[in-house]
């Protein structure tokens, strides 16, 4: 599965292109000269020590953070200050957060239909049907009428994944989706992510789940100090890390 044949989609243009992108938080240079191209149906795992800028990088892709230099093009649309473009891109790019960020005042079903109804203008009936379809897919349909506060962390994260799927995104960004979970719940979320991968979803995943990276990713990126230090196929990446800092990181995380 982890071959690099990402081009079985007729549309062969890359879904995300980042060129010479820089970002500062005030004086602090968080992202330095990022260049990254993501093909359709490609799955990328980004790892690195905390504070290395990996979350910031994917948050720039749907403009939760603003970049100051360079270009980001998502599905042919360049991210600028134009609000219309930003909102357009956000409907195409799904996002799954570390802390789920479900809407606690809405039922699970309402969480899932909010975007389709208000942004995509889908009729309610249709939105609910597709929401139920995706809840089945993450194996949680029986909880549709409950509120997020009544669910376990793992269940909430699966709902969050279903919520982003309901918008029919072209790519989903995962920001450390399993780091806030109790250990016994990590697997149920990873299983859902693996089945998404099998369906051919384009995914960019910030994660330290190296097992997931090995079995699912086409490419693994290692970031440190705001730079992409190394990128490779998972086999190569884990067996022959080239960079000293990658070796150090892997030795710490794999023990």
């Amino acid at each position: 599965m982890n071959s690099s044949t990402a081009n079985d989609n007729p549309d062969t243009s890359p879904i995300i292109t980042i060129e010479g992108m820089h970002k500062w938080f005030g004086e602090f240079h968080v992202l330095k000269d990022i260049n990254l191209t993501v093909q359709r149906r490609e799955r990328i795992v980004i790892c690195g020590p905390s504070g290395s800028g990996k979350s910031t990088l994917i948050r720039c892709i749907n403009r939760l953070e603003e970049h100051q230099r360079g270009r980001i093009v998502v599905d042919g649309i360049e991210l600028t200050n134009d609000l219309k473009n930003i909102e357009k891109i956000r409907t195409e790019v799904g996002m799954v957060f570390q802390h789920f960020n479900l809407f606690p005042h809405l039922t699970i079903l309402e969480n899932l239909t909010l975007g389709p109804i208000w942004v995509r203008k889908t009729p309610r009936r249709e939105a609910e049907e597709s929401a139920m379809y995706f809840l089945e897919k993450v194996r949680i349909a029986e909880q549709a009428q409950k509120y997020p506060g009544q669910l376990s962390g793992g269940q909430q994260q699966r709902v969050a994944i279903a919520r982003s799927l309901c918008m029919r995104p072209n790519v989903i960004l995962f920001d450390e989706p399993t780091s806030a979970l109790d250990p016994e719940m990590v697997k149920e979320v990873l299983d859902v992510m693996i089945s998404l991968a099998q369906d051919g979803m384009t995914m960019i995943v910030v994660s330290h789940e190296m097992g997931f990276a090995k079995s699912v990713a086409h490419r693994v990126l290692f970031m440190d100090g705001g730079e992409i230090l190394e990128e490779n196929e998972p086999q190569e990446f884990f067996n022959n890390p080239r960079h000293e800092r990658t070796k150090l990181f892997l030795s710490q995380i794999l023990d």
Binding site: L64, E87, R90, G94, M95, P104
Partner: protein, 364 residues
């Protein structure tokens, strides 16, 4: 000890009698420690001293439908001051034989309020019911159409005026306050500074001075011949004043929101208005129900300050009734009655807010 006795499982063991039931409650709440026991006994003693005389005065020795002379001779409470003046206290200078109209208006209002308590009744048709209800209340009060005799607003007074000022005042102030709170968070500097200046300015002056300005200073700036109804001016002052306080409370709720909620809404592609209306405000307003309600309650009571600009609200009509030489000296009874009306209204508000809080709780 017989060895054959079946061992009692831990689940069978009952708590000691002194921890449960009435005895347990009394012990836990009234006599848990020497200091609390002492306090309980002291309070019981004071109640024993104070309650019987009060009951005697208010209920046993009291007069309900007598003349003022009989009242002065008797030792108990003279509730006759209220029964004799009830129509003036409730309706002020509203023409005597037309007072069924404000009464009917109040009944419509109470019916609507009671019906709206149940959240299952919150349908679009209810909004129409409110519109029609408010409109017919206005027609009833003003007259002039449908063959109803017109009544000048200078003759409005008593309970209808108090309810008018507070119901319109509070329902209009809340949305204005929410908009101000959002404005204060805005990234547009002009909007933001306007809201900050407005809120700080209004909060910096007492309501009395605002009412006074609305009644005395404001008309000076109007072009000649143009007049704005005095009640409307007072109404505006109350709305503007209350909105500033609501705004600060709502801002507190907005700041308590997790940043992740904004981000999740944004990443679904919701725009600013949708994010606020569908995601942020429903949660933020729920958090601030308790402080909002205390502001609404105090604003409700503050409507009695309109006496300063010579509007005859409930409190002023009561005072006026008491200034009749016949009934002088019975202010305690009259004010107790007015206090009861205010209390019932406020109790209704706080009770309802507690229920709403419980109903909206989704176990976060």
């Amino acid at each position: 000890m017989p060895q054959t006795a079946p061992p009692r499982s831990a689940a069978d063991v009952r708590p000691p009698v002194t921890n449960i039931g009435v005895l347990g409650w009394i012990r836990a709440n009234l006599f848990n420690g020497p200091l609390n026991s002492l306090l309980t006994l002291t309070v019981l003693y004071l109640l024993w001293q104070a309650l019987p005389p009060f009951i005697n005065w208010a209920l046993v020795d009291s007069l309900w439908f007598s003349s003022s002379e009989e009242c002065k001779a008797a030792g108990g409470a003279c509730w006759s001051v209220i029964t004799a003046n009830i129509r003036f206290i409730l309706f002020g200078f509203y023409p005597h034989d037309l007072q069924w109209r404000p009464l009917l208006g109040i009944c419509i209002l109470i019916a609507l309020l009671l019906y709206s308590q149940n959240r299952r009744h919150w349908r679009p048709s209810l909004a129409w019911a409110w519109l029609i209800g408010l409109f017919s209340m206005g027609v009833l009060l003003m007259g002039g159409i449908f063959g109803l005799t017109a009544v000048e607003s200078t003759n409005w007074g008593g309970l209808p005026l108090t309810l008018l000022l507070s119901v319109f005042g509070l329902t209009a102030a809340y949305p204005v306050g929410v908009v101000l709170a959002l404005g204060r968070q805005s990234r547009m500097p002009v909007v933001k500074s306007f809201c900050v200046v407005y809120i700080e300015l209004i909060r910096g002056v007492p309501l009395i001075s605002l009412l006074f300005m609305s009644s005395v200073v404001f008309p000076l700036f109007l072009p000649e011949g143009v007049t704005v109804n005095k009640i409307l001016r007072a109404q505006m002052a109350i709305i503007l004043f209350t909105a500033a306080y609501i705004a600060e409370v709502v801002r507190g709720g907005l700041q308590g929101m997790d940043r992740g909620q904004y981000e999740a809404a944004k990443s679904l592609g919701l725009n600013y208005l949708q994010t606020m209306r569908l995601v942020i405000l429903p949660q933020a307003l729920k958090i601030v129900i308790p402080p909002s309600v205390s502001i609404l309650i105090s604003a409700f009571k503050d409507t009695s300050l309109v006496v300063i600009i010579a509007l005859y609200d409930l409190l002023k009509t009561t005072q006026t009734a008491l200034s009749d030489p016949k009934w002088m000296g019975f202010s305690a009874e009259a004010y107790l009655f007015v206090a009861l009306i205010y209390f019932v209204c406020c109790w209704f508000m706080s009770n309802y807010s507690r229920r709403l809080e419980k109903e909206l709780d989704t176990g976060r």
